[in-house]
């Protein structure tokens, strides 16, 4: 078996969830790597949209920011930001949105606003950006986050974007018709919402990871699906494409300096 890092497993697991027909709203960092890995491997037809307004973009390297020139030059076209949020996101034209955050709870609600009280924050985080509306307007949401007790918490300090709210039908009761988080992809496991309670539940554990490890890195009592699979390890091809992408990116960003 090829050697790989937990972050690589996480990115590859996220990429696998994307198909050719998906229209995907991509954030910077892991989501961007995952989405482009999918495009460069099993899903060449996947449509990538960045909130800077670039529609159907095909970057050859990963952008550092959400609006790098590379994204615009390789896009089908680029629209203004108000149009992006009105016609494309709110208009319901995006099938999958990627999100992450500083804190997540068991219903996959996210906090990217503050750690500590809002008026006297311990850590002032960047804030919501596109997330509050991505969370409710995209057909479904994939969340990518490395696990840890400080990020997988019992109670969020601030609800920046919603997942399944308080579970059950509480999301639908807000009048929201989209699915919300259907997958949570971490460096240790894959979670999916329980069909009834909507609590994020482990459905697959990455190779070499134990249930104890997962619990040690989660601030709530972790639940497991009736049948828990083992995640397929990264294939040689997946790792190759991902590492090539990162190497190409590092090379170009070095050169541009």
């Amino acid at each position: 078996m090829t050697d790989y890092k937990p972050n690589e497993m996480m990115t590859i697991a996220a990429a696998r969830a994307l198909g050719n027909d998906d229209v995907c709203f991509v954030g910077i960092g892991m989501p961007s790597a995952a989405a482009n890995l999918a495009r460069l491997s099993h899903a060449p037809g996947v449509t990538l949209i960045y909130e800077s307004g670039t529609l159907a973009t095909k970057p050859t390297v990963l952008p550092l920011s959400i609006g790098d020139g590379e994204l615009c030059e390789t896009a089908l076209t680029t629209v203004a930001v108000p149009e992006m949020f009105r016609y494309w996101l709110q208009g319901g034209r995006i099938s999958i949105g990627f999100l992450g955050g500083a804190q997540i709870d068991k219903y996959a609600n996210l906090n990217t606003t503050v750690v500590g009280p809002y008026d006297k924050p311990k850590v002032r985080l960047p804030g919501g950006g596109g997330a509050p509306e991505i969370a409710t307007s995209c057909g479904e949401i994939f969340i990518i986050m490395a696990q840890g007790k400080r990020s997988f918490v019992e109670k969020l300090d601030f609800v920046t974007s919603i997942g399944h709210v308080q579970g059950g039908d509480s999301r639908a009761k807000l009048g929201i018709k989209t699915k919300g988080p259907t997958r949570l992809i971490t460096d240790l496991a894959l979670f999916e919402p329980d069909p009834q309670t909507k609590e994020m539940t482990v459905v697959s554990i990455h190779p070499g990871v134990t249930r104890e490890q997962i619990q040690d890195n989660t601030g709530w009592q972790v639940r497991y699906a009736a049948k828990v699979a083992q995640t397929l390890p990264p294939t040689v091809r997946e790792l190759e494409v991902l590492r090539d992408l990162h190497a190409r990116t590092a090379r170009v960003q070095g050169e541009a300096a």
């Binding site: 307004g53 709110q90 804030g127 509050p132 300096a257």
Partner: protein
Amino acid sequence: MARILSLAEAVKEAVCDGDTVAMEGFTHLIPHAAGHEIIRQGRKHLTLIRMTPDLIYDQLIGMGCADKLVFSWGGNPGVGSLHRFRDAVENGWPHKLAIEEHSHAAMANAYEAGAAGLPCAIFRGYRGTDFHKVNPNIRSVKCPFTGEELAAIPAHRPDVAVIHAQRADKAGNVMLEGVLGVQKEAVLAAKRSIVTVEEIVDDFGPRSLNAVILPGWTVGYVAEVPGGAFPSYAQGYYPRNNNFYKEWDAVSRERDSFLAWMKTNVLEKGPEAFAAHARKLRAAAE
């Protein structure tokens, strides 16, 4: 009608202490040279509006120009925190910074409503979140046909909008292309505006019939500042300097290193310093 002036003159005429200022540019075409000029001219008590406060507002906040920030995402894209923004919010340095916090969708809609001359914007947003608990400018409106509750926010109507664009012609018409952000909306929503450009040309020449253009009669001041978007980029001119963004993390982390950098690179320089970046980068791209 647009007046073509130097950047220093334009800032002197358009930006007053206490103004509400929107400096826009979504990753692309961020008006950094204009930001430096506002700092050099020592403007105070500004309310700063911007979707992604970014390095440009980190600098204005750290230099004490701002009393309030209206924003939706305050980070260093792809790098991490804005340390001066955090120091102001977490520790009140150099003084307390009031914040009004929105989502991107809300900010984009607020600019759009401002450009459209409306008092407010309605959209489907903020559902289930905590934003309304900390921001009294998030309200709601009931659709008179379906009964659906929609989020409502006041339109942005800044005193001054400041943007950077690729080109202006001698009549002060301004042409933008690439990642467009909310710049057109910001200028149309504002009472006054400053547009810095890479170059002023005699004529735009052949262009798309639907090229994104702000006609001269909607623009206040135009100033030619080549490289004026550095370290962000100007499509067709020079690329984003990603390393600068990474290095800013170290520069801005401590108050002393930040102040030293600002003294050397802003207070003791002028807008012409940006031309070097433009030239250097344009040459590198060739």
